[in-house]
Symmetry: C2
Subunit: 87 residues, 2 copies
């Protein structure tokens, strides 16, 4: 399935959350990730994320899509993050 | 069309960006918005956002989908933002 994941986590968890998400998804922008992922890997990703975020304060939102990908992606302003920037 | 919009803007522009996005889309979570929107309204939204954000520093990402909505949305951690929280 295709997923879009957005996180909003405390500064101290950002590096770990980023590393975790990048193992499974393409890093689009700052806190936004996307990609094709299997059900098994999505489960693993969620379990790993739950270990690195603070569930009382942080937030992760995952959109699942049956159809493959979106029809268009537009960016206004700067392109923060993305594959080329390694933290 | 159905869109998902995520912004990452400086603190001083957050309130204005939030107000602008909420005029056109449903506020899902902190910096995440979604909804059905016409091409005309999306153009208006983008023009209004360009006025309130700093295009040198801020970033807005818009996913467009031909098909209506996603098949599932999951939230890990807390639900930040959303319709019930008025800034």
């Amino acid at each position: 399935m295709f997923v879009i994941l957005v996180y909003d986590v405390e500064q101290k968890s950002v590096a770990k959350a980023l590393r975790t998400c990048r193992k499974y998804l393409y890093w689009v922008q700052n806190s936004v990730f996307e990609g094709e992922i299997s059900e098994a890997n999505l489960t693993k990703l969620k379990m790993e994320l739950e270990k690195v975020i603070n569930k009382e304060k942080d937030s992760v939102i995952i959109y699942r899509f049956r159809t493959t990908k979106y029809s268009l992606i537009e960016i206004i302003g700067i392109k923060k993050g993305g594959e080329e920037n390694i933290l």
